[in-house]
Structure formats: C-alpha cells, structure tokens
C-alpha cells in the first residue's frame, strides 16, 4: 500500500507536570492511508488521543513538548507555521470527538457551527454557507436537515449530535477524518449506525479514516489496518484480519484473551496481570515487560522497535518469531494475579 496520507514517525509527546515529565507518547510510528481506515486501539491512557491531538497541533504548547515528524502528504505538520496549520485543520483533516454534546458549542445553532467552518476557510456568503451546512447534514443522514440546522446541540439526540460532528468535520471535504472514540458515548444500536456511516463515507468519498477506540471489537469491525498502542508506543500494527487473526505481541494476546465472547460460555478469561506503568515512571526496556508472561532478560534492556515481520504486519517484541503461537498457549510464568495501584 503506497497511498500514505498521514505518516507519524518517532513521535514523542511529553507533558510537564509537578511530578516530573509525563511521557504520554514515546517514540510512536504510524501510517494512515487514503481511502482506508486505520484503527488505533489501546487501553485508557495509552496515548491514543494525544497522538492525534499532536498531529492536529491541538496540544497546549505550554505544557506539551512534541517532537518527531508528522507528515501529511509529505509535509511535516509540526514545523508548519501556525497560520498554515489552520488551513490543514478543517480543509485537510477533520476531527471528531468522543462526547458530541461536549464537543459542540452549547450556545450556537448547529447549522451555524458548520457554516462557520466554511466561512473561516473560504470566501463564501452567509447564505451559501448555511445551504452547504444543511447539505452536509443531509449527507450524514439527518432527517429534515434544514430544521435541525436551526436547533441547538442539546435539542438533538446523541446519535444525531455525532452525525452533526461528522458533518462538520467533513463539510470542507478533507482527506483525513480522525475519529477519537466516536461511539463510546452512544448506544449499541446507534454505535452501529455511526460506524456504518463513517464506513460508508470512507468508501463513497475516498476518505482516509483514523478510528481511535479502546474497544477491540469496534475497531475490528471497520478498520483495514490496526495499530495497538501500549504506554505511548505502537506495539503491533498490521492489517486488521492479521492483527486479530494472528496477533503477534503478547499484549495483544492478552487483550484478546481478556474479552468475553458474545457467543462464549462461562469459561474463565485470561486477563493480563498487573497494570499499565505510570507514564512518569516508565520501566526500562520493553514497557510491557513487567506484565509480560514471556519476559526474557533482554526485555528489560532495550525498548524493542516496531519491526515488520510479515507483509504489513509489524510488532515490537523481542520474542523469536518462530514458535510464538506455541508460546501463546503455554506461558512461561505468571506474575501476581492482581493489578497494583497505579
């Protein structure tokens, strides 16, 4: 796959805090492609949101230090003058967030919030802008969009609000949509609607999509490629079917084994022992090392890089490639079966 849209290379994001620097993203590399969906999964705090906020340059420079490269179509966004960055946000990358009620301005009509975007990025009359806003609402499947455009966010249902967010992100027809947990706040049936909508738009307008979620299942449903994040790094990356079908990293194994199956029975789950490390106090070497059932001495020595082992399928694990499948069935050791306080 060559049509790389967004490329993140060796990204570091560090937050200053009274208790020392918090390394929220720590040497992350990712790639999102045109017309495809990149799923980003990982537990809470693994750095998913921060990564893409960094890509949008939406982190507060007063507290966050960002380094590395984030290229959109080859242009490094991190070095772009902020005025030009404004023309990236919106026209080239659209972004939607988890809680659509909080993400919409409560005092402005939704139609105005959309047309405002249009007017900020082009010389367009108020009237045309609002017409296009209505059209955008119609496109995301909102019934009677002209009426809805005149309503305030709190007057809409959750699913509808998320559709408004999507319409707003897409009204400028960007190349990339970053969806940060777009369905977490929604009901199951509504979640399905929204995922289907995003998928539909992706195929219809050839959009690149980044879908951030902590739910493996959600990601597995719509993503073409998946990146699994742990403590600020991607530890496995590859085509969706590969990552979930033949997971390579012990952490991914753990995640999958923790999941109760929809059609499964009462058999005991195999959780990952321990808890994610404090980002202010990362363990040496492999971040997952302390919780890993297959830890080797070398794990504590260096941070393993993300290495592509099969076509498009990379992982960051020191374990020898051969016999990983076998290992998964028979773990070496099992650290204490409880999670310590963070």
């Amino acid at each position: 796959m060559s049509d790389v849209l967004l490329e993140i290379e060796n990204l570091h994001v560090t937050f200053a805090s009274p208790h020392g620097p918090i390394r929220a993203v720590d040497g992350l590399s990712l790639r999102a492609e045109r017309g495809a969906t990149l799923g980003v999964v990982g537990e809470s705090g693994s750095g998913k949101s921060v990564t893409f906020l960094a890509a949008m340059r939406l982190l507060d420079p007063a507290t966050a230090t960002v380094s590395g490269r984030i290229r959109l179509d080859g242009v490094d966004l991190l070095t772009l003058p902020s005025r030009e960055m404004q023309t990236v946000r919106g026209p080239r990358i659209g972004m939607i967030f988890q809680d659509p009620l909080a993400a919409l301005h409560p005092l402005l009509r939704v139609g105005d919030q959309i047309s405002e975007t249009l007017r900020a990025h082009g010389d367009i009359s108020r009237r045309d802008a609002s017409d296009r806003a209505v059209a955008a609402l119609r496109r995301v499947g909102i019934p009677s969009p002209d009426e809805r455009a005149r309503q305030y966010p709190h007057e809409l249902s959750g699913g509808m609000r998320q559709r408004v967010m999507i319409a707003m992100a897409l009204v400028l027809e960007p190349e990339l949509l970053i969806a940060d947990e777009p369905t977490t706040a929604l009901d199951t049936t509504v979640e399905a609607q929204i995922l289907a909508l995003i998928d539909d738009l992706r195929t219809r307008i050839g959009l690149g999509v980044v879908l951030i979620s902590h739910s493996l299942a959600t990601v597995s449903q719509v993503a073409d490629t998946v990146a699994v994040m742990y403590a600020g790094r991607a530890i496995e990356r590859g085509p969706c079917s590969d990552v979930f079908g033949q997971p390579q990293h012990p952490y991914t194994w753990g995640l999958l084994d923790s999941l109760p199956a929809v059609d499964g029975g009462h058999e005991s789950l195999t959780p990952i022992p321990g808890a994610p490390p404090s980002l202010a106090d990362l363990p040496p070497g492999c971040r997952f090392g302390p919780r890993c059932g297959y830890r080797m001495p070398a794990c504590g020595e260096r941070v393993p890089d993300l290495v592509e082992r099969h076509a498009g399928h990379a992982d960051a694990c020191i374990l020898p490639m051969d016999g990983r499948e076998g290992l998964r069935r028979a773990p070496i050791a099992h650290p204490a079966n409880s999670e310590p306080a963070p």
Partner: protein, 329 residues
C-alpha cells in the same frame, strides 16, 4: 416550539413576579416589625416637639397613622402603596423627620445612586473583563499572577478606607479632584464626572477584581471545554476561537452576576455614599434607620427589594435568551 416557549416563559415570569411580591411583603413586614417591636423611640414624640403634652403626642400619632396597631398600620401602608396617597402613586407617605413627601426625594436620590452604581459597573466591567480574559489566555504568567494578587488586595480593601485614602490623596493632599458631594450632570458635566470619579473607583475596584477573577476562571474552564478543541480542530483562527467561542460562553453567566450585583448595590452603596457624601438611597436609608424615620426606611427597602427581584428575574430571562439550554421547554 416558539409559541409554547413564550407561554412557558410568561408563566415562569409570572410566577417569579408573584414570588417577588411575597418577598416584598415579607421584607416590608420585617422592616415594620423591626421598627415597631424592637426599637426604642416613638417617632410621634420627636415629631411632637421638645416638651410634648400627651394630647399632642396622641394627635401626632393619629396623623402619622401610628395609633393603629402594627398589623393595621402595615395593611394601611400596603393599601396606600397600591392605591396611592395624597402625594400620588405609589403612596410612600412623608418623612417623619422632615415632613417632606417621600416619593420625589426617592426618585431624586435613586438617580444619584443609579449613576453611582451604573458608572461603577461600567468601570469594573471595563477593567475586569480584559484583565480576566488576558489572564486566562496566559495562565500562570507574570500578568496573571500579579493581576490575581492585586485583585485580592482590592477585594480585601474596605471600601470606606479606600474612599478615605483616595480623598486624602487626590483631594486633600494633591487637590486634583473635587472632594465629596454631588453636582448634577446638567449643571456641569465636568464637575459631575469629577465628583463621581472617586466614588466610582472606590465602588468598582473590588468588583473589578472579583469580576476579573470570575471571568478568568470561567474563561479557563471554557478554554478547557471540548467544544473549544472542536473549534480549533475546525481550523478557526485563534482570535475567533477566543472571542466567538470562549468569550461568548464565559460572559453569559456574568450577565446574571452583573444584574444581581447592580441590584444589590442599589440598596447597598451606604458606605460609599456615606464617605463621599452622596445623597443617594444608601445614605438615605442610613439616615432613615438612625432617625427612626420609617417611611424613608421602607421606601428604600422597597426599592432595593424590587430592584433585586426584578433585576435577577431580568437576568434569568436574558440568560435564557443567551443560553438555549436553560430555556424552559
């Protein structure tokens, strides 16, 4: 939604007005009770001169309506309030100490107080909003920290002391500004402003500090909101994000605050009026209360209560207009 919304709003306003009426009744009643049950003097005695005979006192009582029991007097007061008296409507009676009609004085004094309060409000908003916004945009900066500290000093400064200090400095020592007292605007606009400047400053500095603090906090909260991130993610210019999205949301709650503060001050500028010798409502109520001049006290109390109730109602309505979330549905 429109028609029903207005209807609901109307009913809400009606209910609030009803409650205002109840509050007015209670507050005037309390005033009455304080006046009659607690204090020491009989206004009739004073009115009756130095060496009053009991007949004269009785007569004065009758004239002042003090011969009835308190409840009847209160009801009579309410009645006159509603139907008016010989001085016109509303029937506020005449002063026990000067014999002058209350109503014309009330309007005259209310004007002075209103000028004082509104002028001060303009000043404190003009100081408070920019300072608060700027501090919020640069949190923890030197400006932010020093504005917080200076603000706290203002908040901690007793108004009367500040007034005296200003008078001492700018009038008695430097002679830059005219001293206490009041000149009407129409007589001499410059003298008017000169006389009002120190009272305005005195009244507004603490409020400016409080408003700067509140706006800074609201602004910081707002800037942390998801929808601000959304606005930025849409690629809006930072200036528009601040003015259109953050400031707008931050200032809406200020409306309520402002209305209530102004309303409270209408009956509460006693100290400033005292220090600066302004013959407004505040110094009047002080006079009325100290001289047991019930009609004065009641009139100011009434105005103050109505101001508080109506302005806070107004604030709520404006708030509902500005913030669709709180509109009754």
């Amino acid at each position: 939604m429109g028609g029903e919304c207005i209807c609901v709003m109307g009913r809400y306003i009606l209910r609030r007005l009803l409650w205002t009426l109840v509050v007015i009744l209670i507050v005037t009643l309390v005033t009455f009770v304080i006046f009659y049950v607690l204090p020491s003097g009989d206004p009739a005695v004073r009115f009756a001169g130095k060496e009053p005979t009991q007949q004269v006192v009785a007569q004065v009582r009758r004239d002042l309506g003090l011969n009835h029991n308190v409840a009847v007097q209160y009801l009579l007061y309410l009645k006159r309030l509603v139907v008016g008296d010989k001085y016109g409507w509303p029937g506020l009676g005449f002063s026990y100490t000067t014999g002058g009609a209350i109503a014309p004085q009330l309007w005259q004094r209310a004007q002075i107080t209103l000028q004082l309060v509104l002028g001060a409000a303009v000043i404190w908003m003009l100081i408070g909003i920019p300072v608060g916004v700027y501090a919020a945009l640069k949190p923890r900066s030197a400006f932010d920290r020093s504005s917080l500290l200076v603000g706290l000093v203002f908040i901690s400064t007793p108004v009367f002391w500040l007034g005296m200090l200003l008078l001492w400095l700018f009038w008695a020592t430097l002679g830059w500004l005219p001293g206490t007292g009041y000149v009407t605007f129409t007589t001499d606009p410059v003298a008017w402003a000169g006389h009002m400047l120190m009272p305005w400053l005195t009244l507004s500095l603490a409020f400016a500090a409080i408003y700067a603090r509140i706006i800074r906090g609201k602004m910081l909260d707002t800037l942390g909101e998801d929808y601000i991130r959304t606005a930025r993610a849409k690629g809006l210019p930072e200036r528009r994000v601040v003015t259109h999205h953050a400031l707008r949301a931050s200032l809406v709650p200020i409306v309520t605050l402002l209305a209530v503060d102004i309303a409270t001050l209408i009956g509460g500028t006693v100290v400033v009026e005292d220090v600066f010798n302004l013959q407004g409502l505040g110094s009047w109520v002080l006079y009325g209360a100290q001289n047991q001049d019930l009609p004065i006290t009641l009139a100011v109390t009434l105005v103050a209560t109505i101001a508080v109730s109506l302005l806070s109602l107004m604030a709520d309505v404006i708030y509902a207009y500005l913030d669709p979330r709180v509109r009754p549905r």
